[in-house]
């Protein structure tokens, strides 16, 4: 019999592998001409999404950026409907009206993915305001990148959440680049946690490639939020293995940087830990990975079989 801890570990691994395989499949679909527009992938950052969402409870809400496939899947959105949305199919999460940058599944608390940098931070503040007004005990978590900490909405949201003691977790994924620009070029502080101090908000930095460390940091912030102690800022240090978007080969990276980070691939980090400390052997880890990849393949095939939306449906959902 597997213990509770082993079930948790295998679940964390499964989710991260699902997201990795999902993103790789989207990348292939793009080159096959099956996905239009653009897409922003998160390979390498899976531990932040999975670790953070693992610490949330039913009723909590999450908002994220246009690099949000991983976060939405980590909340439990179905793989096939996520594929369907990015493929622009009628059966997609948003009926084909949102696309890659707007994956949303309110039924699992994935309140939205937003394509304007920083715009979703006050939306999570608003969701937390509802929770506080109604005394539901829910919290809201918002993912954003290091680049978002230079936009006004970030500062207004941090300030308001703090002054109103709202149950918000500001989850910064510092992947070292804001689009194509290295952080040092755009941001005069090295540690983003100092930005929280000017809003009187506790802040912590965590290894964003260690899913357990992320989960534990978010769990501590969640305890604070639910105890009525207000918001927390978490900076997760991580790295994206791919360019900013479809058109970016990431030529701006210093030589060797990607390779160094790939040695700390969050999936490998967790797999090694499961073998070293969790009572798993290599075969068991490989089996979890293979099962997750097979689920992703099956979901992709399912979504590919779905029809395009009826053109008349474009008139629906403008107004309630």
């Amino acid at each position: 019999m597997k213990g509770k801890k082993q079930v948790e570990l295998s679940e964390l691994l499964r989710r991260m592998v699902e997201i990795r395989a999902f993103e790789e499949r989207i990348q292939r679909m793009f080159t096959q001409g099956l996905v239009r527009g653009t897409t922003h992938l998160c390979q390498g950052q899976e531990a932040v999404a999975v670790g953070a969402c693992a610490a949330l409870a039913d009723g909590d809400t999450m908002t994220c950026t246009y690099r949000g496939h991983g976060a939405v899947l980590a909340m439990g959105a179905p793989l096939d409907k996520a594929f369907g949305e990015i493929l622009g199919r009628a059966g997609g999460l948003c009926k084909g009206k949102g696309g890659s940058m707007h994956l949303t599944d309110v039924s699992v608390g994935a309140l939205g993915s937003f394509a304007i940098v920083g715009a979703h931070l006050p939306i999570s503040v608003g969701a937390a305001f509802t929770a506080k007004q109604r005394g539901t005990g829910a919290l809201s978590l918002t993912f954003f990148g290091d680049g978002s900490t230079n936009i006004g909405a970030f500062h207004e949201s941090m300030n308001l959440a703090s002054i109103w003691d709202l149950p918000v977790i500001f989850m910064c994924e510092n992947n070292l680049y804001g689009e194509y620009s290295p952080m040092a070029l755009t941001t005069p502080v090295e540690e983003l946690t100092v930005r929280a101090s000017s809003y009187g908000m506790p802040a912590t930095t965590v290894d964003g490639n260690d899913v357990i460390a992320v989960r534990d940091a978010v769990a501590a912030a969640a305890d604070r939020a639910r105890a009525g102690e207000g918001p927390t800022f978490i900076e997760a240090l991580t790295y994206r293995f791919v360019g900013h978007s479809r058109s970016d080969p990431a030529a701006y990276r210093p030589e060797g940087e990607l390779e160094r980070w790939m040695e700390r691939d969050p999936i490998l980090v967790l797999g090694r830990r499961m073998v070293a400390e969790g009572g798993f052997d290599d075969d068991a880890v490989a089996a979890i990975r293979a099962a997750a990849e097979a689920d992703v393949d099956a979901a992709a095939e399912e979504a590919l079989s779905w029809p395009a939306p009826d053109p008349e449906s474009r008139f629906e959902d403008v107004y309630a």
């Binding site: 949303t104 039924s107 006050p122 909405a153 959902d317």
Partner: protein, 325 residues
Amino acid sequence: MSEVTYREAINAALAAELESDADVVMIGEDVAAAGGVFKVTEGLQQRFGADRVRDTPISEQAIIGTALGAAVTGMRPVAEVMFADFAGVCFDGIANQLPKYRYMTGGQVSVPVTLRLVNGASTGFGAQHSQAVENWFLGISGLKICAPASPADAYGLLRSAIRDDNPVLFFEHKALYLRKGPLDPDVEVPLGAADVVRPGADVTIVATQLMRERALEAAEKLSAEGIEAEVIDPRTLVPFDFETVLRSIEKTGNLVVVEEGPGSGGWGSTLVARMAAEAFELFDSPPRLLGTDDTPTPFAAELEEAWLPDVGEIAGAARGMAVTA
């Protein structure tokens, strides 16, 4: 039926909705403890509590975003933008977030947000506190827009706006706050219905807010000359009640539209274009669009008054048509 000011009518509508629905909350800069810079929200925090009527920092992006996030999770927020000009600070929230959230999620959420924005010129606030900015938002699908002129319309439309499950921009004209008019709180005013404020058979004048007031004065002058103008207040700009205007043109054959703005790309030009396309044969004379001069709002009283369409200009445009016809 009691006589109340436009400001009192808005206050009463807010109080009525706060009273009838526990999910209604109000946020904005100095709306709570101070009762608003124009005293429109006076007494509401005392009556409904500091949890439901809340002062915010000077943070328009956070105000709009917080209202939006609260709305999609079940509240019915009313947020104030102290001067409508400040919508420029939170344009993203109004243009990209409020009207698109429902659509781009395939209808997973509804967005019952009412934004109250304090609009309009003639009070000497200068170029950044005097604009009537409703036309900034006309080309954005997914919003509803109200611009009431009378206390009764302000009351009824605000209650309808708050009860609506969609984002509504509710423009209050600051020059009208102390104007008095009758109010029957039992009369509902639905969004999207124009009002024929004054019947007449010779020329149709369409105007909102301060321009409606001036159009009515112009109509009285014309009446003394034997010309009867029909004055229509659309009240809601999105959705726009084109039908009521069309029926009036069928009767008068003449159309003057008066707008508090430079007239390019606004509801007035949209109305003229639509009527010309749909009912060209009904016109006895070319339709006219009167607007402000095409400059920023000037400060000095003489400059600002010269900049705004006045009663004489409105009467002159209408008279020219009625005489020609």
